[in-house]
Amino acid sequence: MHMAITLTINGETKSFDAPPDMPLLWVLRDILGMTGTKFGCGIAQCGACTVHVDGKAVRSCVLSVSAVANRAITTIEHIGSTPAGAKVQKAWLEAEVVQCGYCQSGQIMSAAALLAATPNPDDSDIDAAMAGNICRCGTYVRIREAIKHAANGQS
């Protein structure tokens, strides 16, 4: 059963037809063609699909689209236009965080949400915020460094 759905994504209003229980991730990738957000595990356990809903990092693969109507959604395509997101992206490039790159959209989204809420995170804050984002290449050391650099404004 499809229904007309309107979402606010990256400040723009998007209208489309979809089943109300379709995961937001599918809407983003398959209906709206916004493929920056990645599909990893499909059960909210890897973090690749992380987006922001009202500024908080959530997993879009288990979030039905009907649950996010009327809420502000931000994706990796737009995160660079937020102050925290811009800092994270800059630090990411300068620290050469990325190896294969598959998880990085999710990592950047979680890191940006962390810095927006906790501008100067310590290691335990980084652990608590980033534990749900898995990197198969094992770039965790560089991720941690980049988050600290972004927080300090140095790079």
Partner: protein
């Protein structure tokens, strides 16, 4: 009479009195005895119509009326194995003394109930007697269904017989002696099955009587929510005080203000029953989730209202192991609040925090909010561990929200650690689950 005979007779009389009064004490009151008002036969009750279907279905066909009643009695959940055809049976109930399988109640003549006459069906549903004369085990809640009218039971039969027959032989039960002796259920039934139809209470409103009929005869709330006595029958002295069923805790639904439903608003109760969620009270999962999905969500609004009116009247019984108030929202920062159990915290950070938040108020949906739920405020953490093991899926008019099952992803030790962390952080008292406890919970859940 000689002296010896007199003594012997005396002993026999004392023994009979002891047995009868023992049985009497164990049996206790019936499910509706608390109401106390004068009861009349249904035919003599003029104030309203507690039985049958809601007004909008009054003129519907027998099969349609039967469908409503079959859903109200929630036949399907127990009589369907997940992934198999509806009503084709084979769901295993894991009991401490073996596994019991539900029967195929499709109209298949060989493996189902296709050969049942009306009287056969009435005997099964109201008296626990099978077509071949064998006795049913009370996993089939015939001590509740016995309160259904013949008309309503036969409407359910008409509905079941309108469905396609499914040829599906269910596995043999694996009960151990003496529980494999079906004939023994004759005595159990004689003591615990009142074998009587619903009798309206004239001191109560028509709405209450409808609610009582729905809750007792059809929805059989007490089968999970009322503790059991020595004879494994319902102990109505503690009516609706909560119990463990199929490895999940069915919480107190008496009118107790602290640990029951006494402080729930009508809107909360209506929302919980019809949608499986009430703000600040969590979401129905496990067996109650199934009851909402397949039964309560299909009820007419006035029937939900009647059940609420009835629940309000059930005397308060406290659950002494639950706190008087549920814990408030936890701090937003992971650093504040509970810091013990580093392993539980690590698991929570990786697997749970992105949906449930560090405060317990979900950034995703109110349905995933932990704050205020009994599950996290239960120091035994039964339902926290169960939902981590098996996940949940809530259907609503706007779609579905699901939590994945972690039972195959984490060890018993890890699940115990995360349950202990969750109850300590979001509840009033942290649980002390061990890996062994979690292994036992896995064992108890139905297949």
């Amino acid at each position: 009479m000689s002296g010896k005979m007199r003594i012997l007779t005396g002993i026999v009389v004392i023994a009979i009195v002891a047995v009868v009064s023992g049985v009497w004490i164990i049996r206790g009151p019936g499910p509706l005895d608390f109401a106390g008002g004068p009861k009349v036969a249904l035919a003599d009750y003029r104030a309203g119509k507690p039985t049958g279907v809601p007004a909008k279905l009054e003129k519907a066909s027998l099969v349609e009326r039967g469908e409503y009643l079959a859903k109200a009695a929630d036949c399907m959940v127990c009589h369907t194995k997940p992934g198999e055809k509806d009503y084709s049976g084979g769901l295993g109930f894991k009991l401490p003394f073996g596994t019991l399988y539900s029967t195929n109640i499709t109209p298949d003549k060989d493996t189902g109930i296709g050969n049942y006459s009306d009287q056969d069906f009435l005997n099964a549903v109201q008296r626990g007697k099978r077509h071949d004369g064998a006795r049913l085990y009370p996993a089939m809640p015939y001590t509740s269904y016995t309160y259904m009218t013949d008309d309503d039971v036969l409407a359910v039969k008409a509905y079941l017989f309108s469905l396609p027959p499914v040829r599906a032989k269910v596995p043999e039960n694996t009960l151990s002696f003496p529980f494999n002796q079906r004939w023994a259920m004759i005595f159990w039934s004689a003591v615990f099955n009142p074998d009587t139809r619903y009798r309206p209470d004239t001191s109560k409103s028509p709405e209450w009587n409808r609610g009582a009929y729905l809750a007792e005869a059809l929805a059989h709330c007490g089968e999970c929510h009322t503790p059991r006595n020595l004879g494994f029958a319902l102990d109505n002295r503690k009516k609706f005080a909560g119990a463990i069923t199929a490895g999940w805790r069915a919480f107190n639904i008496s009118s107790d203000k602290a640990t029951g439903l006494g402080n729930w608003s009508d809107a909360d109760l209506i929302s919980y029953l019809s949608l499986g969620h009430a703000p600040g009270h969590g979401s129905a999962s496990g067996p109650m989730g199934e009851a909402v999905d397949h039964s309560f969500s299909q009820f007419a609004p006035e029937d939900i209202g009647s059940i609420v009116a009835y629940l309000r009247s059930v005397p308060p019984v406290a659950s002494p192991d639950l706190p008087a108030t549920t814990a408030p929202v936890a701090p937003a920062s992971h650093k504040e609040g509970v810091t013990a159990d580093a392993r539980g915290k690590m698991l929570f950070a990786g697997a749970c925090a992105s949906c449930h938040g560090w405060s317990g108020e979900s950034p995703v949906s109110p349905m995933a909010t932990l704050t205020g739920t009994w599950a996290v405020n239960d120091p035994a953490a039964t339902n926290v561990a169960q939902i981590v093991l098996s996940g949940t899926r809530r259907h609503t008019p706007d779609g579905a929200l699901s939590m994945p099952a972690f039972g195959n992803a984490y060890t018993d030790d890890e699940i115990a650690a995360v349950a202990n962390y969750v109850t300590a952080r979001f509840g009033t008292k942290g649980s002390k689950l061990t890996a062994k406890d979690v292994a036992e919970l896995r064992e108890q859940t139905a297949e």
